[in-house]
Amino acid sequence: MKIIGIGTLFSGGRGIDAFQQALAKGWQAPSPLACRDRTLPAYQVDLDGMADRTVLKKLRRADKLSKIAVVAASDAVADSGLGAAEQQKMGVIVATAFGAHATTFAFLDGILEYGDAAVSPTIFSNSVHNAAASYISSALAIQGPTLTVTQFFFSFQAALQLADAWLREGRVEDVLVGAVDQVGEVMGYIAASRLAIARDGRIKPFVFSPAEAVPGEGAAFFVMSSRDRGSAYCTVDGLRFHDDLSGPVRSDLDILDADGLSIDESSYISSLVPGVPAAAYAPLYGSMMIGSAFSCAAGALMLKEQRCFASPVPDNPRGLAIVREPADSSIEFIRCIRYNCSTDRAVIELKKA
């Protein structure tokens, strides 16, 4: 399947152009997230500062997670150039690790403050996991199959696998597939309690252990197509899960999703192939279980542009071969590699279109 459109929204801005600029510009400091009596660094999306008179006006009652998802999804569809008729028939798969947790906690506020009989139906409606997908389908008039899926670290990869299967069986000709998650006060507390937070705001992906995190939020959506289109970013050539070692490893660049969500991320080292440089871009958008979607966007951009972007935080105590400077490159294959806390692995294999 081919990636024919991408939409991203993260702390660095909206749209694939903003993401490309962030990749070129390098590391930027996160902003403070207040968690009661302390703050921690976090990469947060600023929706209030976003000028939008078309998509967001349809979402006045939606929560932040849904708005982030719809904006990125809408931009991916626009980027794809699909016509209205094609758009109407496409499928939608939204991946999320945690869903609308901030809205869920707001609903719990209602129970605790006002009692079981006086909670807000609007907040409840927005807390349901598939609310974002519902807003996407209604805002973009998409009437195909619409699913929301969750698999923690591998939510995006599993969604991508299903999108590929839908295309192969002819259920749809195009799929809008993407991932969204948000950060919030309670999730910040959980992150600060369970993880080592990088107090200097820098995720250092190649330190591996002890790994430090900076929570992030955002969405990356892709229009996947079975059709042959000239303007594709790249092809998703394969998806490998767990111990699938079948076939040769083909890679000109490995993007590691090391982002501090596990204290020890040394497993990534075993995935590296001699002679293949590695990069990691989580320092641009933050630590997210769905961060692989952003890695996939970075890989797709690099294959299209035939240009490698530098790892934004190049601390590299093991002296690994990493991309230190941006450079025009001849890239045929990119692997996006993610490990979970149980050291299971998922790999997205991208190929030049």
Binding site: F107, I111, S125, L147, T150
Partner: protein, 393 residues
């Protein structure tokens, strides 16, 4: 589309209607609904619910009631499929739907954080271990694809549809599919706030229906390719013929009043199954007993199948089990085909003049080769499953 045959070799069901498929069939025959006051949590609200009273201790996982419910239904389904010990030999996928288990909504955890700025993390750790499909996959040692569907009330049906896609794409040989959900205070309050819960036992499709009752349970099917079944010497006369899913693209909480998404879903499911509405013997409808759902769904079913189609809602026996509903109702649909009869639609008394059909009011024999289970979800998603039974000459 790939039309590789996919057999249903095992069924598992656990709900207020029974701890097993056989228990459920007995409850269906007795016609006695199992709803009553909520006992699982305290709430000043007084809406009846359908609780599982006899969850076997073997499957209990502390703080993970949805996983526990799922494990019980999975075990029953694997027993029927004769796969309990054989499973690790095959590429097995797990695709289950849920709503409650996907949310980090532990009220005690949050109350503590609100009041003190800190809270014990055990509920968070449990939640992180409680991804439904992963938890089941770990428990049964399945190493194929794993995916939890969180599509609100169609989650279970969609999970079965996703598993069908996996099997027909060769991603696994066997799939454990369906849905599970526990009764939780959070959606209980939420659905009450939406004004769609009934203070009486629910009455799907009835003229005087006042809303839904929540329930809990798990419904699981074992799906496998015919080649895999043949290789291990298994057989089944039940098969999954088609799945269709379409969004209304209309509203966050209300179905499209004309049920356009459901109608398209049925057409997609028929196309995949290679059948038409005339081949269908009965429909296990979503039938939640809310005004909007039953009106929209009834219109579509009458339009697509004609007003004489045998329709039932089993929510009068189970309550609305949310993410489990599509799984349970797929099991009940398969059971109806296997037994050649469907139960009376519990709770129904009077036909609604605004709905051009009435559900079956007594146990009804069915002899068709195909039956349909429909699901309509919060968020405007719709799903239809076509289940078939090979009739031996």
């Amino acid at each position: 589309m790939n039309s590789r045959p996919v057999l249903i070799t095992g069924l598992g069901a656990l709900s207020a209607a029974g701890a097993t498929v056989a228990d459920t069939a007995a409850t269906f025959r007795s016609g006695r609904p199992g709803g009553g006051p909520v006992t699982l949590f305290d709430s000043p609200l007084a809406y009846p619910a359908f609780e599982v009273k006899d969850l076997p201790r073997t499957f209990l996982r502390e703080g993970l009631r949805t996983v526990s419910l799922a494990l019980a239904a999975v075990d029953e389904a694997l027993q029927e499929a004769a796969l309990v010990k054989e499973l690790p030999k095959f590429r097995v996928g797990v695709c289950l739907g849920t709503t409650v288990a996907s949310q980090l909504n532990d009220l005690d955890f949050y109350r503590s954080y609100r009041s003190t700025g800190s809270a014990p993390l055990e509920p968070v750790e449990r939640y992180l271990k409680g991804n439904l499909s992963d938890a089941v996959a770990r428990a049964v040692n399945a190493r194929g694809p794993s995916l939890t569907i969180v599509n609100a009330c169609s989650s279970g049906a969609d999970a079965i549809g996703v598993a069908l896609t996996w099997l027909r794409n060769g991603l696994c040989d066997i799939a454990i599919a369906g849905g599970a959900d526990e009764l939780s205070r959070i959606p209980y309050c939420g659905f009450a706030s939406l004004g769609i819960m009934s203070a009486e036992l629910c009455a799907p499709f009835d003229r005087d229906r006042k809303g839904l009752n929540l329930g809990e349970g798990a419904g699981v099917v074992i799906l496998e390719t015919a080649e895999c079944a043949a290789k291990r010497g298994a057989s089944s006369d039940l098969f999954l013929a088609g799945y269709g899913s379409c969004a209304d693209a209309y509203h966050l909480t209300a179905p499209h009043p004309e049920g356009l998404g459901l109608e398209r879903s049925l057409a997609k499911a028929f196309a995949q199954a290679g059948i038409g509405p005339g081949d269908v013997g009965f429909v296990n409808a979503h039938g939640t007993a809310t005004l909007e759902n039953d009106a929209a769904e009834g219109k579509v079913l009458a339009k697509v199948f004609g007003p004489g189609i045998a329709v039932l809602s089993t929510k009068g026996f189970t309550g609305h089990t949310l993410g489990a509903a599509g799984g349970l109702e797929a099991v009940f649909t398969a059971l109806g085909l296997r037994e050649g009869r469907v139960p009376a639609s519990a709770g129904f008394r009077n036909q609604d003049p605004l709905i051009p059909l009435a559900p079956v009011q007594k146990e009804t024999p069915v002899s068709a080769r195909f039956a349909v289970s429909t699901s309509l979800a919060f968020g405007g998603n719709n799903a239809a499953l076509v289940i078939g039974r090979e009739v031996k000459a």
